[in-house]
Symmetry: C2
Amino acid sequence: MTSTASNPTATAATNYSADRHANFNGLKCKECGTEYEAKAIHVCELCFGPLEVVYDYEAIAEKVSRESIKEGPISIWRYREFLPVATDDYIDTSTGMTPLLKANRLARRLGIKELYIKNDAVNMPTLSFKDRVVSVALSRARELGFSTVSCASTGNLANSTAAIAAHAGLDCCVFIPADLEAGKVLGTLVYAPKVFAVQGNYDQVNRLCSEVANTHGWGFVNINLRPYYSEGSKTLGFEVAEQLGWKLPDHIVAPLASGSLYTKIYKGFQEFVKVGLVDDKPVRFSGAQAEGCSPIAQAFREGRDFIAPVKPKTIAKSIAIGNPADGVYALDIARKTNGNIESVNDAEIVEGMKLLAETEGVFTETAGGTTIAVLKKLVEAGKINPDETTVVYITGNGLKTQEAVQGYIGEPLQIEPKLDSFERAFERSLTLDRLEWQTVSV
Amino acid sequence: MTSTASNPTATAATNYSADRHANFNGLKCKECGTEYEAKAIHVCELCFGPLEVVYDYEAIAEKVSRESIKEGPISIWRYREFLPVATDDYIDTSTGMTPLLKANRLARRLGIKELYIKNDAVNMPTLSFKDRVVSVALSRARELGFSTVSCASTGNLANSTAAIAAHAGLDCCVFIPADLEAGKVLGTLVYAPKVFAVQGNYDQVNRLCSEVANTHGWGFVNINLRPYYSEGSKTLGFEVAEQLGWKLPDHIVAPLASGSLYTKIYKGFQEFVKVGLVDDKPVRFSGAQAEGCSPIAQAFREGRDFIAPVKPKTIAKSIAIGNPADGVYALDIARKTNGNIESVNDAEIVEGMKLLAETEGVFTETAGGTTIAVLKKLVEAGKINPDETTVVYITGNGLKTQEAVQGYIGEPLQIEPKLDSFERAFERSLTLDRLEWQTVSV
């Protein structure tokens, strides 16, 4: 693996011609509208605005139907007409089509009627929603001629990029903040990429990666491939609409890190309306942040339309982005859909993780705990109507952030392998309440 | 939760009448053929042989077709006509329908042509094949009137029983050996069951649980509910047959703990043949054990038809059963299908975990490492023909046994958030080989 071997600039133009079978025909600046070829660029050369993929929705509408989608693979690639990958040679590791779990017990506990968990804690292959965006980004990276792929990550993205690159046989370098949870570091190293642990926070990692992308010509999934990468999150909108029986929910709650996921769920719903797959209706978009890194929630609360960057300090490391790239777009969506952006502290995050596990059997990481805690806060504040069909997005698995709950969930009762030892322990446990009993010694 | 509240003996007979819509009509001793009602019993009162569910295959054949299955849910419940649950009120947490991954890179590395990974490392909700058997057992437990469910577990079963019981609102007590991996203990406690850590090995835990089942009347998924529970593993046969385009593979390799999984995959294939869903053909069954707990492999090697129990000592704790209940049946299947049962040591198990992660992006636990290492050994010994379509069963997730690979996969290169710090580290990494580079300090 060398930096020159994977330089894509020479091959990008050639590969672009393969796009003739695709439903997208370039990139466009979200701010000033300048158009670009569908290459590995992500920032407008004129105004520095972010670039987005431009689709031919008429072509898509002609090709797709509820039936054609249902006949497709059980993965995000059933929606491939909406994704920016030109050839049929996409990387399918069964990513997506995660459960939309009807959460009756949690709903009752919160006092609302119809609640669903979109459970990407069991997304494949690496147990977070990042597998969606990485599958799209690496498929596009291969089309554009990259042989080395890379990312700036808070952990889940590193897991996903390393695993999917391994499956596809691409060289891989990942960059992470040095203080990540053990499970996320180990869950990256095992796939044998090069891992660089940067002594700094995510925003510093991200800045360094922008420089590396310029000098080494690698495909950074969330930098120079970001326009393609971020489109993968639309599938979280598509799947919910399909799984609800081809209709949109009344209210969604999703975590906010860069803000990209949230804005792309919105885009997914809009695209399904645009091509006639679902009826239009108002959907309220609420967002969740950790108090220790809540620049978007702060702006929302204060009625600002700009984001003041913060230094992250929270256990919810996977969403700890102090300078969120899509923060202003997320703010805009929350306001125009009559949603809310709320934050919760670290103790509430742990309680959120426990609440979801105890009521629904879903073990999520800190980001999911944040989202559940915000859901609870919004219901209690009357900001989610008990009659609204609400979908909450759980984006990662609790096995990756075990540190967060250690010390808060008790310990097993130690017994000898004898019936009387068990009976004594069991009798004792009956006199204790549920939270207390596990820590008793017998 | 009290022991009397959940005593099922009074309600079992009543609930049994609900079975009139089901395709099973009782239990039968696998040894002497004595028949029993479909209650919570698992051992023949006459000969102490294991009991198995008796199906009406003519009724099943009339009800199922490839099309009817394809129209069913994306979970094990698409095969519900083959499962011992009477009502439609089964517990569906999207268990099953895990990927059958075409493993081209691993196949090339091993020198065989067509290899598939059946990947239950991403099974839902708790990332092991145990979610299949627990979904069936708890559905049946509820039909039989149990309100408290329990298990004797090497870890994965505890995770699964606790999570699915939480989702279904059943009280739950689990029993584990006290020396389990941290991830498996924490991944049980988070669902707030009662957890008893027994100072002993799995076989001692299991014996204790048999006594508790008798005295407390709880539904132990792998003891008094075992005839129903074990049927869940058939779905690993059904899914592979369906995912291969309604045909059987030439050779399968699966891990052996109690031997139940292995024998039920065999039964699943046979049932699909019996009702006409696939054509009959010879399938070779090979099995994998860890050298530190290989009573079935030892019997196979020595040509014995009985199992000599052993004391387990291996990192592959989830398959460390020294006195395997279905060992003799597994032996029989391996011999009559011209398969093999092989064992590998702990170092080979770690190499197996790394090999699968690096070539296919699948991070499995020690049991999966065992299976991959045995696959490699069988190929190298010419015991798997390079032309055979081979399916290897990966049954659990690597995030649960992080201890096993820690120290064997290197560490990240530490750098400062500056381009020149990265460049120095990167240059240095190019002069090292892949295994060495991660441990260098720069």
